[in-house]
């Protein structure tokens, strides 16, 4: 993919002096995915043997018990329901946060005052854990999805806008001049030049924002419990802890981890491969 096609760097067949297959173990070891799988399996084995030795499923359920609880939860539909509720709220809050962040970054680009507004607000609110705003949000907006969306948007907003602004700042003067040379101004200039040129930073911001939002949501649900009739994954964990269904608590935690991994590998890595890697703009 990143093959350079310089005229002088084409290798001709008669330059190849030696060619032989690698030994099997080396071929396996060279694959990052297989190495990671190996680590994962090892961790599972350690978990299973330690819990079997401990033999206390109330405190520390084994990997197999957790898996069984996970499948139970998925089959009965409760866990699926909880996951979908969480993801729905998450996507809404994430989208709201990113929308506001892009507007703020564009405002920050237009004037010194706008820039100072964003950097000051970010310096103030970025260190404040979004979850700390939940009591206030509940007071203002009431119990329900609205408060969660407020807190989620807050968790995404600052890191994402800061990354986007840094990305815009890093766009080379040459590219800016090229864009203006074609008569691009205002919003078309932002869409056609600034956003793609800043995309590596924007993608980092999207990732960070996602991670913040996901953590904030689970924490909020743990504190907040049921909103509008159906709880999310955090509530599932809390509820099962109260009923001493610790295997299901572990199943809930595993779901949180797995959703994080799925989003990283099936969403962000794919976006990365199709955009910044393909364009040779890797961060």
């Amino acid at each position: 993919m990143t093959d350079k096609i310089y005229d002088l760097e084409v290798i001709t067949p008669d330059q190849v002096v030696e060619q032989m297959p690698l030994p099997l173990w080396q071929r396996i070891y060279e694959k990052a995915s297989l190495r990671r799988l190996l680590i994962l399996v090892t961790l599972l084995i350690i978990w299973q043997s330690y819990s079997t030795w401990l033999n206390n499923s109330l405190l520390f359920p084994s990997a197999s018990e957790t898996m069984a609880a996970l499948f139970d939860g998925l089959r009965s539909g409760i866990l699926v329901d909880r996951i979908l509720t969480s993801l729905g709220v998450l996507l809404l809050g994430y989208a709201v946060g990113i929308f506001i962040a892009i507007i703020m970054a564009v405002i920050a680009m237009t004037s010194k005052l706008g820039r100072d507004l964003l950097t000051t607000l970010t310096a103030m609110f970025n260190p404040l854990p979004a979850i700390a705003l939940l009591p206030v949000a509940m007071l203002w907006i009431g119990l329900g999805t609205g408060s969660l969306v407020f807190v989620l948007a807050h968790s995404v907003l600052w890191s994402f806008s800061l990354n986007t602004l840094a990305g815009f700042d890093g766009v080379s003067p040459t590219l800016r001049m090229v864009g203006r040379n074609y008569g691009l101004k205002g919003l078309p200039y932002v869409i056609h030049i600034l956003i793609p040129a800043a995309f590596p930073s924007i993608l980092t911001g999207l990732r960070l924002g996602w991670a913040f939002a996901w953590r904030t949501l689970i924490a909020a649900e743990l504190v907040f419990g049921v909103s509008a009739g159906s709880g999310g994954l955090g509530w599932y964990i809390y509820e099962n802890k109260n009923q001493l269904e610790i295997a299901s608590v572990f199943a809930g935690l595993s779901s949180v981890i797995m959703i994080g991994l799925v989003v990283e590998y099936l969403v962000f890595r794919v976006i990365e491969a199709k955009t910044v890697r393909r364009w040779g703009m890797s961060i």
Binding site: Y6, T174, L175, M177, V178, R180, N181, A197, G280
Partner: protein, 254 residues
Amino acid sequence: MNSPLLQVNNVSLDYEDTSGNTKCRITVVKQISFSLAQSERCMLLGASGSGKSTLLKAIGGYIKPARGDIILDGKPILGPGPDRVMMFQEFDQLLPWHTVLGNVIFALEVSGKARGSQARDKARAAISKVKLERVAENYPHQLSGGMKQRVALARALAMEPQILLMDEPFAALDALTRTQMQEELLQLWESLRLTLIFVTHSIREALTLGSRILILSPHPGRLQADIESAPTKETMIHDILFGDHSSEVNSDDR
């Protein structure tokens, strides 16, 4: 001769420094006048600090003259526009998120010069002019520096600008590639009769490419000489540029 294509009338260019508590205006280019006819290959030659790049950017519309005006085809220049395409020294002037073909098509479409299949055909034609058909579907990061500059040239040609503004476009290339690019540019000029303004700090490059050479003196940039290009004039240019202090400054003729 018809009325000139470009007129630079008594142009001074300042830049403002407000980093301290004082507002400081610094003159980069002082009272330059010249006019340019169709199909001229005009070289702006000068040392660093002579304001040759700044003057080019002012013609490009990126900088407003503090005094004087620049008139293209009877109309004053108010801002950047696709009738004056810039080509830069930096290799990052191609949009990394478009392929070679995509870069040319994007330029045509976004500036309103051509759309759809017409843009595609024009882009292909321009790419074949610089002999890069085989990398048309590749992304810029896969190309060498010389190839990138050729794509930038193709993109500029496809735009069919009234003037092509070139800001030391070959200065970052190795000597062999630079010579090759200079030859190709001259061949293209033979067939297309473009109007060029080309900034360089190399006397040899100015003599090779130019039909006319404007020599700028530094601090602030002023027009020192306006001469027809001819190979015999190398010593003359040398004398104008360096006077009696030729040992102090190197001509940097890589």
